[in-house]
């Protein structure tokens, strides 16, 4: 029985939340809807964990949807890369579902709760689908499922701030243009090869070699996905969307949506297009590296001057995406590993930070830094969680953020780009400043008023601290993240068969004898 279910894990992974979504509306009871959401996301997370365990050794699972064999049928193809991303998305989804119940009480009209859960489940479905599928057009469809539900989720923030509506609208315009660019790119690829299966595409593209249509296809996909992952300067939708969305949506989006987009970028860059000729590499190195560096600095500086905590974190996200892109565009294994690890670590860290902010909003109804003065004494758990996760954001040793930066700096040094290493350290210092501003307000400033603020509810504290502890745990024990990321990096690099000089993996000689 169990093995029969597990055999269909790839499909169930997305189908469970997809079926659960309409159930929420059908039952129409918000508490029931919450229970359904929690159950569905937990089941998805379990499947994701199972899939990750299956693929951690580098093996690949191919699942034929509806029994139609690829390349004609749609194939779900799971390897270490997307199993890892699936795991991130699904586990964050489960935690967010747990967290949502109390959080939306304050921020969303109770009559709309059912729709919130529905949209949330659809968004989860979309993100999981994008990650798991091996079919290029299917990526687009799932991308749109997640995008459309995201616009709805962002707009639900209108209960607290009407600007959520315009934020959602702008996001819709941008997101649609991005997705359409993506679909144009897919169209060109199809014209060129006559197939949509990614593995098949990769083979045929390799056989065809470089040509103009391929380049144009690449450009459209690159820009389209760049928009989705908030690559600087295409990030303009992100600050508003994150800051006006309901807190729980900010948590979910910050931790998952951009990460999935990064995954799609990785998949197309490495698996589909490959690197054995110069154009993609040149694009990355002439466009993405400078943009990533600018993002690291410009967004961090903007973050320093923000008065709203959510907005500050949103800009910080743009900067952090800069790190991920920088790692990827170094095109060596440590860089790719760093990018993938940071994908995970940043999801955990930013999720925890937004969760803490959500709790502040829940209790004091504001996320402005000046309203958070003295909150460190009034909401000790959440403030401590914020600080602990903030340390990770900076990259203090023994937090997950340090591991990412360590790999990233290794990767830059391997390329001989020591100036990039310096820039990474420099931009981390900016993170110190903006995190410190908050810490100062929370702990060192006199409280705004003496009116006692209650501790956050446990249903918010628990998921937040799970995230925080995860960020600390993965800062000390890099077994899982390191292995998954390096297996993933291996797979991606093998896919493009770039033969680089002797592999430089950190960690050789034993020390201290």
């Amino acid at each position: 029985m169990l093995s029969a279910i597990l055999a269909h894990a790839p499909a169930l992974q997305t189908v469970v939340p997809l079926i659960a979504a309409p159930l929420c509306v059908l039952f129409g009871r918000r508490h029931l809807a919450w229970a359904i959401t929690l159950a569905a996301s937990l089941i998805s997370a379990l499947f994701a964990a199972y899939l990750l365990a299956q693929t951690l050794d580098g093996s690949v699972i191919s699942y034929e949807l509806g029994g139609w064999a690829p390349p004609l049928g749609i194939e779900y193809r799971i390897d270490a890369v997307n199993a890892f991303v699936l795991f991130i998305v699904a586990s964050v989804g489960a935690l967010v579902a747990l967290y949502a119940r109390e959080s939306i009480e304050q921020e969303i009209d109770p009559a709309l709760h059912v729709y919130f859960y529905t949209a949330f489940l659809l968004c989860l479905t979309g993100l999981l689908g994008v990650t798991i599928t091996g079919d290029a057009f299917n990526v687009f469809v799932f991308l749109e499922i997640s995008s459309l539900s995201t616009y709805t989720l962002v707009a639900l923030g209108a209960g607290r701030d009407q600007r959520a509506l315009t934020a959602a609208y702008n996001y819709l315009i941008m997101g649609t243009i991005g997705a359409t660019f993506f679909v144009i790119g897919i169209g060109f690829l199809y014209m060129l090869t006559g197939t949509l299966n990614m593995a098949d595409l990769a083979e045929r593209i390799a056989a065809l070699g470089d040509n103009r249509t391929l380049r144009i296809a690449f450009v459209f996909i690159f820009v389209g996905i760049g928009l989705k992952l908030a690559m600087f300067p295409l990030h303009l939708w992100l600050p508003n969307a994150y800051s006006y969305a309901p807190s729980v949506v900010s948590v979910f989006l910050a931790a998952t949506a951009t990460k999935v987009a990064v995954y799609v970028m990785l998949r197309f860059l490495f698996t589909v297009f490959g690197f054995d000729y110069g154009f993609q590499a040149a694009t990355l190195q002439t466009i993405v590296v400078p943009l990533a560096v600018i993002a690291m600095f410009a967004s961090s500086i903007v973050a320093i001057f923000q008065s709203d905590l959510k907005r500050m974190l949103a800009y910080s996200s743009v900067a952090q995406i800069g790190y991920i892109l920088l790692g990827i565009s170094l095109l060596n294994k440590p860089g790719l590993t760093a990018g993938i690890i940071h994908l995970f670590n940043h999801a955990v860290i930013k999720g925890a930070l937004f969760m803490a902010v959500g709790a502040f909003v829940y209790r004091i109804g504001s996320s402005r830094i000046e309203d958070l003065r003295g909150i460190g004494k009034q909401m000790p758990w959440m403030a401590a969680a914020f600080v602990a996760a903030g340390l990770g954001l900076i990259g203090v040793p023994l937090t997950a953020g340090f591991i990412s930066k360590w790999y990233l700096i290794q990767a830059t040094l391997d390329e001989g780009a020591w100036w990039l290493a310096l820039l990474i350290v420099g931009s981390s210092l900016l993170a110190v400043i903006y995190v410190w501003r908050v810490v100062e307000a929370m702990y060192l400033a006199a409280p705004v008023q003496d009116a006692p603020v209650k501790k956050a509810p446990w249903s918010m504290i628990v998921p937040t601290w799970i995230m925080v502890l995860a960020s600390l745990y993965f800062g000390i024990n890099t077994e899982l993240t390191g292995k998954a990321a390096s297996t993933a990096a291996d797979l991606l690099i093998q896919a493009t068969q770039i033969e680089k000089a002797p592999e430089t993996v950190p960690g050789a000689p034993a020390a201290g004898e």
Partner: protein, 570 residues
């Protein structure tokens, strides 16, 4: 011997458990038990690598045990015990936790077998210790703590940079002997030098130590600097430049100590001077000298703690430790006064630990035929006895009775402080009485007898004439009780000059930025507005640029990438 739990982790585990315990005697007892358990563990260690772990693919050494690390581990544990006894009455959880973390980090660093582990604990000492300053709770303490933290963290950052460079060069992360020469090793030396309070890198020490709480300063005085000395002894033994650095350290702080008003700052400068002794001995680098380093670190931790404890007790009972506000206190705090005098004597009088260790260092310098350095050390010996052994107790406890007219005389120090001071004094005495046992702990097996008639006679001459000179000069009015006021040290450079430069820079950049951003905004606005005006018929379009500009950026990036694709030949 893998069944031994790493002592550093004992402290850290205890720090995690501690907040759960109810405040009061149970917790205080628990606190006292922790360093004793750790000391017991260290006692049982046998030499060799006992614990390794994996981090980021490196195999690292958590525990590398040899006689040098055992000596430092033991004295750190024991001093932590004394300091915690001294702080028995403190109810502040933050200070208790950070004291444990601080001691644990210092001990962890001592046993670290590689630079990564060292770095982790190195920063641990920095972060944990600053709370002892912040615990004072005043605004000044906050800023002082920030300055302290910045420089301590900087030391760690320089260490990690040096470590990375060194690793790139040699492929080794081992925390062992280094040869100066490459940039990496210099960076490591500077990182150590910051914590060891090398001249010009020293200002954090007299800045921070007088700012901490009465008990906090005792804890601070134990670990950070001695950890640096340990690291220097481990990595840079026999490095000649250290001899000269150490000589400057012997002289320079003494002058400040002789002129300073705040008695805890006097002790901080005196501490810096004693570090100079150890740095010189590290520079000499012979087995005898290194034995001297280890012995002097032990003796120095004990008697300097004792002196800081005495001044802490004064601060605790009177609210100040400034000479200008003290005097005649022996009437109210006679036992403290007596123990403070013992602390002064313990620095160099025969029968005390300081005599043995100082003789070791002096002999090692003499054996290396460095007459000038030797004379400098002799000057340092006399000077330190003058500032910390005579002048300090006299200013605090004797002379004019400043509390004669006060409504309430200060009380004698609490029992736990007296007990801690008494135990510290007793251990100084015990080590001085049993030089053979003391020597048997030292890292190298070198025969040495401190109690020769030569040593005893000359040392007593130095001490007695130092004291005579003090009293004579006091009579003549050449030495006076200092008036209120502070002395500017080289920290003026960073606290005033640098601040002024930063302010000026900020002023200029603010204005420049304003100007630039105004110009840029105007240009950009004009540019975008012209685009919009040309293409869009409706109103002032600059204001609607959010959505428009987003799409525009897409077009720009798309265009740019397309151009790139066409510019590259197929």
């Amino acid at each position: 011997m893998p069944d031994i739990f790493p002592p550093a982790l004992i402290f850290i585990a205890a720090a995690i458990v501690l907040p759960v315990l109810p405040k009061g005697n149970l917790r205080a007892l628990f606190l006292l038990a922790v360093p004793l358990v750790a000391a017991h563990e260290i006692w049982q260690l046998s030499e060799g690598v006992t614990h390794t772990y994996e981090l980021l693919g490196y195999s690292l050494t958590l525990m590398r045990v040899d006689q040098l690390s055992i000596v430092f581990g033991l004295i750190f544990s024991f001093a932590a015990f004394l300091a915690l006894l001294y702080a028995w009455h403190v109810k502040d959880t933050v200070q208790q936790v950070t004291t444990l973390l601080y001691a644990g980090s210092a001990i962890g660093a001592v046993f670290a077998g590689d630079f990564v582990t060292l770095f982790i604990f190195w920063e641990g000492t920095a972060v944990a210790s600053v709370f002892l300053i912040w615990a004072r709770g005043t605004e000044g303490a906050y800023y002082t703590g920030m300055r302290y933290l910045i420089i301590q963290i900087a030391s760690g950052v320089i260490l990690v940079a040096g470590m990375a460079l060194h690793y790139h060069e040699t492929g080794s992360l081992a925390f062992g002997a280094l040869t100066l020469g490459s940039l990496g090793t210099w960076a490591i030396l500077i990182a150590f030098g910051i914590k060891a309070a090398f001249p010009l890198l020293h200002t954090w020490l007299p800045d921070a130590y007088p700012a901490a709480t009465p008990t906090g300063t005792v804890v601070l005085s134990i670990f950070t600097t001695k950890l640096a000395i340990y690291s220097l002894a481990r990595s840079f033994a026999g490095t000649e430049i250290l001899i000269y650095i150490g000589t400057v350290m012997v002289f320079w702080p003494l002058i400040y100590a002789a002129a300073e008003n705040d008695l805890r700052r006097v002790l901080a400068y005196a501490l810096n001077n004693q570090l100079g002794f150890m740095v010189i001995a590290v520079g000499i680098g012979t087995p005898l000298a290194l034995n001297g380093v280890a012995a002097h670190a032990v003796a120095h931790i004990l008697y300097k703690s004792l002196l800081f404890m005495a001044m802490g007790a004064v601060l605790y009972r009177t609210g100040t430790a400034k000479a200008s506000g003290l005097g005649g206190l022996y009437r109210s705090m006679p036992i403290t006064a007596l123990l403070c005098i013992v602390g002064g004597l313990a620095m160099s009088t025969p029968l005390f630990a300081g005599f043995v260790s100082k003789s070791l260092i002096l002999s090692s310098v003499a054996k290396a035929y460095e007459p000038l350095i030797w004379a400098a050390l002799l000057f340092g010996s006399a000077g330190i006895f003058y500032v910390a052994g005579v002048r300090l107790p006299y200013l605090a406890f004797f002379g004019e009775d400043k509390f004669a007219g006060a409504p309430e005389r200060p009380k004698e120090a609490p029992w736990n402080m007296l007990l801690a001071m008494g135990l510290t004094a007793a251990s100084c005495f015990a080590l001085g009485l049993m030089p053979a046992t003391f020597m048997s702990f030292l890292p190298y097996d070198v025969a040495y007898d401190a109690y020769t008639p030569d040593h005893i006679l000359t040392q007593l001459q130095v001490l007695s004439f130092t004291a005579i000179a003090f009293f004579a000069l006091w009579r003549f009015g050449l030495i006076k009780r200092p008036a209120p006021g502070i002395l500017v040290d080289s920290d003026w450079l960073n606290r005033r000059l640098a601040l002024a430069i930063v302010k000026l820079g900020a002023y200029i950049s603010r204005n420049m930025w304003g100007l630039m951003s105004r110009t840029a905004t105007r240009r950009l606005d004009a540019f975008l507005a012209s685009i919009y005006r040309a293409h869009g018929p409706q109103g002032p379009l600059a204001r609607s640029w959010p959505a428009g500009s987003m799409v525009l950026w897409i077009a720009v990036l798309l265009g740019f990438t397309l151009i790139l694709s066409f510019s590259q030949s197929l």
